[in-house]
Point group: C2
Chain length 367, copies 2
């Protein structure tokens, strides 16, 4: 374990997240549930049917089905739309999860070609969609765009893209891994946002803080077809209840806290942006997440941050990632822990960060 | 819920299985584990590495990796062997899980053609393998062959097939969903059986009685490649611990009980075979499982069995399946429950079954 992670673990207060991903998270979710509660069997049975209905209702869709992972759910969604249209081509952002985190599953398992829209550093705009030269079966929008700090297009842009896709017969899929987290910024309900999309995926281990798993929602025929593909992928387990029961528990616990996380993210980003050589993307967050960028290499930041954690007892991040030889960053996602950090101690930690960045930059300029 | 299932649930003693698949099964497995135990992260971390090593060692293979399902693990195994050989063709039994329970995942996701060996009603023999006309990259053997009551070839046949495949460069994969359950019959260790195969899958919710999940084992390079495919399939979850921690718990609890289950299965099959119009396949079980066949349609058997359960308080099976208009069957898998059934009460139940079958057959002949 590196020094920064060790120092982070030893802090009294941690700024991001909901706390450690340990066995307690599961035990707590199951604690008050009856021992005699019967497992679902391969997607059938009272407990899973009820959860499916609850999620379909929340998202304003006809039907929903629980998947062990978003990777599986989204490849399947795109496969169904491609098969339906008879065009094996889908469009998405160059930093989509499907493009960079799934070992090319979409291509290797489904033979679906991809069209990358927009530049890496910005979200997909209406012009990108209209300007698409290739014919595609579907378009995937990730809201917020995670790999660029959780940025969002204007809501009117979403409406325009949705209307355009409908007109052109292009199916629109929502990568809503962090859908709940953006509702306060858009000032919309989940079902209002989802009404712009033909299919929707949401995750249960981001803002919701569950163990794992995802919901895919859409029309009944789409969802029925997705269940066939779920079996083909090996995702139709005899029992998925350890995931969806805990997903349900943490959903109820945190669905109402997204407004709070969003406000806290804006406050925290403001603290970062006041420090020398530090900036956030987006500058003003539009969800519970953002990226913190440093004008210093990861190796330097690891030392500076570890020192701050030891002095202040406040952990800002467990890691720093290299951007270039002179720049680094980490990602912040606000969860339950932020509210536990005493204001004055947090402000002290940021004074330390500012001071250390200033003296580092002074030294660096003299080199 | 049908009447037979209702009657089964109300019995004092149930003959097959380990008991209900309810939340207690998971809670019990986790109960004594520390709340602070940290989740693995996407296949990395102490708790999963230790389990992988334990299973690789048990199976006598270089490496092992946990999968959420056998469906996923086995498709991937065959894909790797097909890619390696550059031949998209695999051979297996006509009633293989991949052929009849996976919605053609192997073909739809991996474009692998299949060659079906042997007749539906018997196991694959050496002659079937030698007589194969098509060139295949790999051969999958399911031990025991579940859909025909859990039948096995002679061990010398396995050795001959293994030697032949090695000579011909055909990779041999073991569908060992019930591998532990057959070791007492073969009088072999798991690693002895596995040494005949290039890759091996075992399940944790059959004889072991866990929640779900599977292990795939083989050479290190094979397992590393399988992890890439696991991610493509959407099986590389951030946390699989609810499954593998419980798999580990029930593995330790039951790995030493397979000899007992096997002996009990033979005893129980004997009871069935003494009844009029009832027979088992295999006649003498070679594992903890067998099929019970009735010379009567499912509708008739449902009534007869429900009556027996009510009179005796003993539940023989929760369901009966139609074979034809005049025949039906169910599957038995012996678990922890069998030992709890009092001998004399069980014998009484079988006297009832024999009597009711006799009078039914008398009436039937007069019709």
């Amino acid at each position: 374990m590196n020094e920064l992670l060790v120092a982070f673990k030893q802090t009294k207060y941690k700024v991001p997240g909901h706390g450690p991903r340990n066995l307690h998270v599961l035990k707590k979710a199951l604690m008050d549930l009856e021992d005699q509660m019967e497992s679902e069997m391969y997607g059938k049975g009272k407990i899973i049917v009820e959860f499916h209905e609850k999620m379909a209702n929340f998202l304003g869709k006809e039907a929903a089905v629980f998947f062990p992972s978003g990777t599986m759910a989204q490849q399947i969604a795109l496969r169904i739309w491609c098969d339906q249209k008879g065009i094996k081509r889908a469009a998405y952002h160059p930093l989509s999860h499907l493009e960079i985190h799934e070992e090319n599953g979409l291509k290797e398992l489904h033979q679906i070609e991809t069209v990358l829209l927009a530049d890496k550093n910005r979200v997909i705009e209406f012009e990108d969609v209209v300007g698409m030269e290739e014919e595609v079966a579907c378009l995937l929008l990730e809201l917020p765009q995670r790999e660029i700090g959780g940025q969002l297009p204007d809501y009117s842009t979403l409406e325009a893209i949705s209307a355009y896709c409908k007109e052109k017969g292009i199916k629109l899929h929502l990568d809503g891994a962090r859908l709940l987290e953006i509702l306060p910024y858009y000032e919309k309900t989940a079902s209002e946002v989802c009404s712009l999309f033909d299919s929707v995926y949401i995750s249960f281990y981001k803002g919701i803080g569950g163990i794992a798993g995802a919901i895919l929602a859409g029309d009944t025929s789409f969802i029925e077809e997705s269940k066939v593909w779920k079996r083909r992928h090996g995702g139709d387990l005899i029992s998925l209840y350890p995931y969806f029961l805990s997903a349900d528990y943490y959903f109820d616990k945190r669905v109402g806290k997204m407004e709070q996380y969003y406000a806290e993210a804006k406050e925290l980003a403001h603290f970062y942006n006041q420090c020398d050589g530090v900036s956030t993307i987006p500058q003003v967050p539009v969800s519970n997440m953002f990226h913190v960028h440093f004008d210093a290499p990861a190796k330097v930041m690891e030392i500076i941050l570890a020192d701050i954690y030891k002095e202040s007892g406040i952990g800002l991040s467990a890691y720093v990632r290299e951007v270039s030889k002179t720049a680094s960053y980490f990602e912040i996602g606000i969860g339950d822990l932020y509210a536990e950090v005493p204001d004055d101690e947090l402000i002290e930690a940021f004074k330390l960060l500012d001071k250390k960045m200033k003296s580092r930059n002074e030294l660096h300029k003299r080199d």
